[in-house]
């Protein structure tokens, strides 16, 4: 079988970070290639190169033996490569057949008038839908289809555009077992008809079932490639994790106290199932898990941003009913969201205004609720000094002009000023430089030392290993593992995150 797609020594850097290093592999025609690796291993970047999202720096990609280097997404269209992402690219208000023919509606053939021929379109759509075994009416609006059916429509669309290569990115996460089974049957069938596929998934059993070849990525490098039969699971997991990063973490000197936060049997259909855990005062508990495992969603539920159906949440023994962010803040909870630019910062206000934001109700004194400037000032200065925020004037300088790391410190500081009982931090060091990371770690340790219970969510396992007393692992909305500091083990944690434990 000949190579339909070949990566040769592909490298890509974003600013100073090398995200892909000399990646080489081949996709053979009529086969399925599995692409595996941890979060941030470079899988998406690798596929984005094909879609023309950004160009590659060196090396070359050969498509059908010819050099392929799309500079933007438009150029990548019409090369018969189709992407099927977890989040489908269908227009839900249009019918199934309209989604199939959006680029190329069959015309009614009235000269001079651009009318669509619905009967022609329906006939053609039926043919395509049959090849993916989907027995819905072509006139059905997509919004009425189940997730699995939508996925089949997406595949039908790819086939309709004559795709020769189809890339699946985590296609089964929102499918039922039966729908998954059907998808796999269709993949087998497509394979027989000569279509080549790249399959990206965290579900290793699926990978082994479907894929002829495997490429294992780690930190932007190919660490293994070959026939999937030659790379058994027990070799695969160590290959995925074996990192040798040496990050520095500040020394920890906190004492662990009473249980302050307790979650029992927390359920929300489609999001989390049967979540139970405790956090003690002064304890740093990490939540690990792969992309889409429900970590951030859980945090949002705990802070009252999203609803839950059943379960119990207790803070300092008090059962919390009807959670809302406001009620959570009043009771001493704090939440650092995953995306600091969208939530939580007033970019054009001064540093001190931002720091005071959460704490304003407490600083307002008397019946006219006048804000006590003096008290505010001492508090702001306290944080300002402790956090080492690089600014010449916290009362004048706007947050917009700070670096990412310093902005992050301001966001954390505004919660810390309130002396929280429980602090949930979602990706606290994403996108900030090493020095600022170290400062954030120190702040977290300091908080723990003062008795705050900390829940830390992170995609970087390294950081959780360095910072946490305990690590909880999530997979598909469930807790699949719990590790004490003494039993921290990268492989076991990854195994739990993959649902292989």
């Amino acid at each position: 079988m000949s190579a339909i797609l070949e990566y040769r020594e592909i490298s890509k850097r974003f600013f100073d970070v090398e995200v892909l290093k000399n990646v080489s592999f081949t996709l053979r025609q009529g086969t399925v290639l599995g692409l595996v690796g941890e979060n941030g291993a470079g899988k998406s970047t690798l596929m984005n190169l094909l879609g023309g999202v950004f160009p590659y720096d060196s090396g070359e990609i050969l498509l059908n033996g010819k050099k392929y280097a799309p500079r933007h997404p438009k150029e990548a269209l019409g090369h018969q490569i189709a992407f099927i992402h977890q989040e489908l690219n269908l227009f839900t208000n249009l019918s199934v057949m309209e989604n199939l023919f959006l680029h190329d509606f069959p015309k009614a053939g009235i000269p001079g008038l651009p009318f669509i021929s619905r009967s022609k379109m329906r006939r053609k759509a039926m043919e395509v839908l049959e090849t993916v075994d989907l027995s819905v009416s072509p006139d059905m609006p997509v919004e009425k289809l189940s997730q699995g059916e939508r996925q089949l429509v997406e595949i039908a669309k790819a086939l309709n555009q004559n795709a020769k290569i189809i890339i699946f990115d985590e296609p089964t996460t929102s499918l039922t077992a039966r729908e998954t089974e059907k998808l796999f049957e269709i993949i087998e069938r497509l394979k027989k008809s000569g279509i080549s596929m790249i399959y990206i998934s965290h579900i290793l059993s699926d990978i082994y079932r479907l894929c002829d070849d495997l490429v294992v990525l780690r930190d932007g490098e190919v660490v293994a490639r070959g026939a999937s039969a030659d790379i058994p699971v027990d070799r695969l997991i160590p290959l995925m994790v074996g990192r040798t990063m040496n990050q520095m973490f500040p020394t920890r000197e906190h004492e662990i106290g009473e249980v302050v936060f307790e979650v029992k049997n927390l359920n929300q259909p489609g999001i989390v199932k049967d979540i139970r855990f405790q956090v003690r005062a002064g304890e740093v508990v990490g939540i690990s898990g792969l992309m889409g495992s429900g970590r951030s969603e859980l945090a949002r539920i705990l802070f009252g941003l999203d609803p839950y159906e059943s379960g119990e949440i207790r803070l300092k023994g008090e059962k919390l009913e009807r959670l809302s962010p406001r009620a959570c803040i009043e009771r001493g909870m704090a939440f650092l969201t995953e995306n600091r630019r969208e939530e939580g910062l007033l970019l054009d206000q001064s540093i001190s205004e931002n720091l005071a934001l959460v704490n304003l109700p407490d600083l307002a004194k008397g019946w006219i609720k006048k804000i006590s400037r003096a008290e505010l000032k001492t508090k702001v200065e306290e944080i300002f000094g402790a956090f080492r925020i690089a600014s010449h004037d916290p009362y004048r300088q706007t947050v917009r002009t700070l670096s990412g790391g310093n902005q992050q410190k301001v966001v954390i500081g505004k919660w810390v000023i309130n002396e929280p009982t429980l602090f949930i931090l979602d990706e606290p060091t994403r996108g900030i430089d090493v020095g600022a990371k170290y400062d954030v770690y120190s702040i977290i340790n300091q908080l723990a030392k003062n008795g705050t219970a900390v829940i830390m969510i992170s995609s970087e396992l390294e950081e959780l290993l360095g910072m946490c007393d305990r690590i909880l692992v999530m997979h598909a909305g469930e807790l699949t593992g719990e590790f004490d500091r003494a039993s921290f083990d990268r492989e076991n944690i990854l195994r739990a995150a993959l649902g292989e434990a």
Binding site: F91, L94, R178, G292, A476
Partner: protein, 340 residues
């Protein structure tokens, strides 16, 4: 599954709520007054609705891509002012029509181009053109009422096959718009852009061109609506077209077109919406209601329409929510088709 079926049913209910309202309004007025259901009165309602209806059809195009055009009232006013001035100086009537259409096209293009190219909210851009249009018009006419040639009124009150000419124009506009939206690739792509602009860009649709074009269409239809309105008035008053944008948007929204984009149609939606608003006015006139009541009733109806739209959207959001895990299917017999 049960919950999602419930949502589906609610969405259907919200989508057709305006039909219920329509029937209800008709029933109430025909019970309260026996003149109301008279054939001549009904034709009258449709004639009065034609100008608003034409403009609302144009507005539907804009609302479908989640945009808004506040300038339509000013477009019809400015076009009318220029046309009236030119005709005063002896230009022929047909050139007056042409000028009004051209004014609509130009302002529509400005609205579309500026909001799309410079990524300024359409609300702000069209608010600016609203004031500009009105200001220019007042300057041209020196805030005086301008008389139009006799032929104008004649057109408005001529019947063809028993149906007034304004209604014919309304029908032609309506059929054209309906064909474009439902039966051409361009029309379907408008719906796609309204549903998910980012997705449409990724799918390689000419999103910017589509966005600009809907404002051009809306401007053009505002021009036509202006002509139709003038044929019934015969003069251009300084208040002509003032605050028309609100009635026009209300008509489209009443007809089930969503302010959030991607949902709605000109037939039956917008047409019935326009007729409904005029029906309410007409009914209140026949009933000799206090004129101060009109805006209150209209406000109530608009509020209801927007409320229904937002409720529907909430349900839609609920359905589209992303899920992370799939709950185990409960004892469904093997081999059956997943419930829908």
């Amino acid at each position: 599954m049960n919950k999602s079926m419930q949502s589906q049913a609610l969405i259907k209910f919200y989508s057709y709520a305006f039909l219920l309202l329509f029937v209800l309004v008709f029933a109430v007025f025909s019970l309260l007054s026996d003149q109301f259901l008279d054939g001549q009165n009904l034709i009258n309602i449709v004639r009065q609705a034609s100008s608003i209806g034409i403009m609302a059809v144009g507005m539907t195009f804009v609302l479908l891509v989640a945009g808004i055009d506040l300038s339509v009232g000013s477009v019809m006013f400015l076009g009318a002012c220029i046309a009236a001035k030119l005709m005063e100086h002896g230009w022929p009537v047909w050139s007056g029509f042409a000028v009004m259409l051209l004014t609509g096209l130009i302002i529509g293009f400005v609205n579309g181009y500026v909001s799309t190219r410079f990524r300024i909210l359409a609300f702000v851009v069209t608010l600016a053109t609203l004031y500009m249009g009105r200001g220019l018009g007042l300057m041209i006419t020196e805030t005086k009422e301008t008389k139009l040639p006799e032929q104008f009124l004649k057109i408005g009150y001529t019947d063809f096959l028993g149906i007034p000419v304004p209604v014919w124009i309304f029908l032609v506009v309506l059929v054209t718009a309906h064909l474009i939206l439902k039966h051409t690739p361009y029309g379907r792509q408008i719906y796609a852009v309204g549903n998910d602009p980012e997705g449409a860009k990724k799918a390689g649709l000419p999103v910017n061109r589509i966005l600009i074009s809907v404002y051009v269409i809306c401007g053009l239809f505002a021009g036509i609506g202006g002509i139709v309105a003038l044929t019934q008035l015969g003069t251009v008053a300084p208040k002509f077209g003032d605050q028309r944008e609100f009635v026009v948007i209300a008509a489209a929204v009443l007809g089930g077109t969503s302010l959030f984009g991607g949902r709605g149609n000109v037939f039956p939606g917008t047409v019935l919406g326009a007729i409904l608003i005029l029906t309410i006015e007409n009914g209140l006139v026949i009933l000799n209601a206090d004129p101060y009541i009109y805006p209150l009733v209209t406000a109530g109806v608009i509020f209801l329409a927007v409320f229904v739209d937002s409720m529907r959207n909430k349900q839609l959001e609920k359905l589209g929510r992303r899920i992370i895990r799939v709950e185990k299917e409960t004892k469904a017999p093997a081999g059956d088709h997943p419930a829908r």
